[in-house]
Amino acid sequence: MSTRLCLITNNSTLRACTIGNSSIDFSIQLLEGSPFDVLMGGRDLIHQGWRLLNHPLYGNFRPGQQAMRSLLLSFDSEKNNKATAPHQTKAVQEYYDEDSLNYIEQALQIYEPFSKLLPTIDAEKTLKSKLLADCALIDKELMHVTLKTSGINVPLNHMEE
């Protein structure tokens, strides 16, 4: 079973996510940045052997129409250790998940032309703008199943509390 989970997002309403099963090391990287920054962060983790749990192009908006992006990744230390034992001559190649690499590269190519136009989002801006609050809510809804099936509790929408 994967022992580590990481949620990379610029959606501050996901800040309060918690893991049900405490034996799993769950970390949140809350970026103050654009969706492009989130994808780049995900890419670097994938290059170190992490695996995507959700498709990076979820939601049927175009890059310019969705200020938020979230990626849930898992790290299977067993697979990784086997591949990167330094002195091994045979299995020299470090572990990487091919599908995750394929999807993150596609997403980056689609987001790249927008990378300079996308807004930099932070928690404060999200609260103040109706548009960003709606984007945050939709983003959380779209990530709901992925987070839930990985045993992550998603905080109720603060408007609902």
Binding site: R43, D44, E105, L108, Q109, E112
Partner: protein, 348 residues
Amino acid sequence: MSYRVLHYINQFFAGIGGEEKADISPEIRDGLVGPGQALNPALNGEAEIIKTFICGDNYFANNIDAVCAQVVALVKEAKIDALIAGPAFNAGRYGTACGAVCAAVAKECNIPVITALYPENPGVDLYRKLIPIVESSDSARGMGKAVPAMASVILKFLKKEELCKSDHSCLMEKGIRINMFYDENGAERAVAMLVKKLKGEEFTTEYKMPVFDRVEPRPAVKDMSKATIAIVTSGGIVPKGNPDHIAASSAQNYGEYDFANVKDLLQNEYITAHGGYDQTYANEDPDRVLPVDVLRDIEKEGKIGKLHNKFYTTVGNGTAVANALAFGKEIGQKLRDANVQAVILTST
């Protein structure tokens, strides 16, 4: 009053010489030179080649911007109405020059331009989206077919007339998606296509998925201890400062760098321009992408004849397939000209 046309040709078609004259600098002559004599009558009096711009292919390759600027200046100063370049058939550097000159003139002077290239010519993929290109055969034997096609198209542009069916058929695809309304709705088109596919009949897909062509494997190197080996990378290793400004993604060019007296790629002397991966490790030791240190050892031990003194590099990150194809052809050509026997291609 007939339209004033400028004709661009290289040293060979100007009758000045072949490879040995490829370095001659630009020369402007009045009237017709070489293929101009066949082109002019094909314009049947409605347009006339009044000047010919001649430039050596090597000179052009080393002074692309300067020569393009010179052609643009001539077009403005001589009040030129249209530019015809080539035909260049399958000549790589000449085809790229024709494409570059046409693209510059079209952009700066907004007048009609035309050239004719063989589909495999690297100039095609570099410029097909920017300028009209007539499809020609791979050698001057195809002059008879290329000239009338170029004349017919350029005259239509000059007179602002619609291209006829035969014009369209001789022009190369730009590779741009244009919306249109079909006679039947998409569902009927799909079911009709499936019926054909099931019967094994010919059908044309409305969208071609990118498919990479296969290349014949080259025979093994017989005697490595006598062979010249070159290294090429898409990992973006460049001298510090990235002198040729190779973009971090969607690269539009490649670099050629001499490393004859370099034994090891040292930190701060070489860096990576590649935007597709965490650059820390490649900047720490560029040998991790381009193995110069190990190859120099192997060269010293005589296990290979010689390490070619130039390496080629670009950034393989979201690079358009057309560009990658063109870079590959050009680099391959240069390595063959330097009689390199084998290449180690590294990527991330």
